[in-house]
Amino acid sequence: MKKVVEGSHAVSEAVRLCRVQVISAYPITPQTHIVELLSEFCSDGSLNAKFLRVESEHSAMAALIGAASAGVRTFTATSSQGLALMHELLHWASGARLPIVMAEVNRALAPGWNIWTDQTDSLAQRDTGWIQLYCEDAQEALDTTIQAFRLAETVFLPVMVVLDAFFLSHTYEPVDIPDQADVDRFLPPFKPAFSLDTAHPAAFNQLSPPNVYMEMRRDLQDAMEAAPEVLEHIEGQFQSLFGRRYGALEAVQCDDAEIILVTSGTITSTCRLLVEKLRAQGEKVGLLKMRLFRPFPYEMLKRRVLRARKLAVVDRNFSFGACGIFAQEIRAALCNEPKRPLVFGYVAGLGGRDVTTDILEEIYWTTKTTAHPESESVWVGLQQPAPAA
């Protein structure tokens, strides 16, 4: 059934359809609408879940670690400061191999206070052992949330479904809301491999000395490495039921492209328009949308981009003292290839600044007219001089 819904609410609808059993959350803009609607669902009985109104994001994640260890399907949502506060527990969730799903609405980190979109919050958690999927629009946010539970419960890893603040979280779009029966067919009830059980007492997450720890970490990495293929398989089933598929990456006109723009999140939609326009002008340009960031889809990326001469990576995030994070990872992925495209890094749209077609076009022409990248990241759209206080 098609409905016009807010991006946040598309996620809430997905969580309802997935019959989540324990939700635990703490308010933070711009995530709050997701859990407000879930509270409504719990109160009107359309979702039979326990909703824990905890006293912090830290406790939200801790409570889900408890609930998932006891073998139920769990969900939370957060942003920025809340995600940063959870940091230690993100490692616990993945290390304990708990299939927790979390919606993470990208918001800039303070100071100064800024509630607008910026991916540095989620990308700063890239080493925590969570699968990360970045969404472009509300339909994708809904579909990705449903897929996330299936993926998480297959590889036993937590999944972060990442959405841009406001551009996605607070924008109303027509969204196809699947039937409950179809979602039930796609996502069977959660059956944990192990859970807390008084009939089979065991210790979980206990002291793990050097003689065992490394193998446990390797198991986690094996699960990560399996995830891209599992996602592909799951998406096949998803497509046959719902008619939609996204892929770990989406390549638009990349086959003959000399320059490929690489984007993630809502910037992708703007970039689609630009690519159409430039193609009409005869430019050999392509677009690569990164949906799966962890595990990093090394092989898929190479298949898509190795024929191009240049990549222009647009990062709405920054690693201080280094460069844009997607650019950094893409460079690392390609560095051992004998023939590889030059990687131009651009930083744009931090703290919610608009990334317009003009900005993306500037990025394209700079890439085309520059023989070799002059720095790791070029900051575009900076006001010169900086705005007066």
Binding site: R53, E55, H58, L64, V72, T198, Q206, L207, P209
Partner: protein, 303 residues
């Protein structure tokens, strides 16, 4: 004959705590009272070690090891999961040290108790961060040496009164207990098990290693802590009804202090001051329990 403390064991011998560890004794008695339908949530503390390394386990109940500051929150999640699965029988227990309770885990504990989560929170109190090598906590008593309060920097601040902090939440049941009074302890655990909502047990658990004393004194010191009013045994129902479970026999705190290396630097004047502080605290407790000093009141004699 029915035993007041059941003979069935839920804790294996061969745990890796130090000889005379009060925390190990506390666990043994608490599990005897709770039985096998129990899940233990253990935030970082000495018990993270005592419970054994992978793939062994000291306990015959499920143990969920968790982050240091999460005892209240993880238990809330486990309880929620059991509720949604329809398991009302299993008792969810958080088992934390004083650091994990008074300090870093206090927010999560306060949140859980404010929500009146249906679980038992046990704080075994050894009055410092022992797992990391005897650093001070807000439970470390006035006068104590620790590795972060060495020499003349011995702790000159009062111990936080954790039970009163929980009572201020109007918690359905809060009680102190001691490894030296196992029957009282077991009775309180059973009572707590029968109450719905949040329950808090503050168990005095001596630590020979951190207190710089011989291991054979572990139980004796615990008994003296009660006899001197340093650690009174009492319980509070619904945040208002106080019952004192043991009336002292007039022992002086000096006797307790002089057996422990952690207090050996204290002068007679310091001990005099500490005696005053203990007397003040005791009188305050008597007033809350509605007992006039020296008079008999709602007292359960237990030795």
């Amino acid at each position: 004959m029915e035993l007041s403390v059941q003979d069935r064991e839920y804790m294996c011998s061969g745990h890796v705590g130090c000889p005379g560890c009060g925390a190990a004794i506390a666990m043994r008695f608490v599990l005897k009272a709770l039985g096998e339908k129990t899940m233990m949530i253990v935030p970082a503390c000495c018990w993270s070690i005592i419970a054994g390394p992978y793939p062994q386990s000291t306990l015959k109940v499920p143990v969920l090891h968790t982050a240091f500051e999460t005892g209240g929150a993880v238990a809330s999640g486990v309880r929620a999961a059991l509720d949604i699965k329809g398991d009302r029988e299993t008792t969810v227990v958080t088992w934390a040290g004083d650091g994990g309770t008074f300090d870093i885990g206090f927010q999560a504990l306060s949140g859980a108790v404010e929500r009146n989560e249906d679980f038992i929170y046990v704080c075994y109190d050894n009055e410092a961060y022992m797992n990391t090598g005897v650093q001070r906590s807000s439970s470390t008593p006035y006068g104590a040496w620790t590795t972060t309060t060495p020499g003349q920097e011995w702790k000159k601040l009062r111990k936080k009164n954790i039970v009163e902090a929980l009572v201020a939440h109007r918690i359905p049941y809060a009680a102190t207990a001691s490894i030296a009074f196992p029957e009282d302890l077991v009775r309180k655990v059973k009572k707590a098990k029968a109450v719905k909502g949040s329950r808090f047990l503050h168990i005095y658990a001596s630590c020979p290693t951190g207190w710089r004393m011989p291991s054979e004194l572990a139980v004796k010191i615990a008994r003296m802590a009660v006899q001197t009013n340093i650690f009174p045994l009492y319980e509070v129902e619904n945040g208002v009804r106080y019952t004192i479970n043991y009336m002292p026999k007039g022992y002086l705190v000096r006797e307790y202090f002089k057996l422990q290396g952690r207090f050996k630097h204290l002068s007679e004047a310091d001990l005099e001051q500490i005696q005053q502080m203990v007397n003040e605290d005791w009188e305050l407790l008597l007033r809350k329990a509605g007992v006039s000093p020296g008079a008999a009141g709602p007292v359960t004699k237990i030795d």
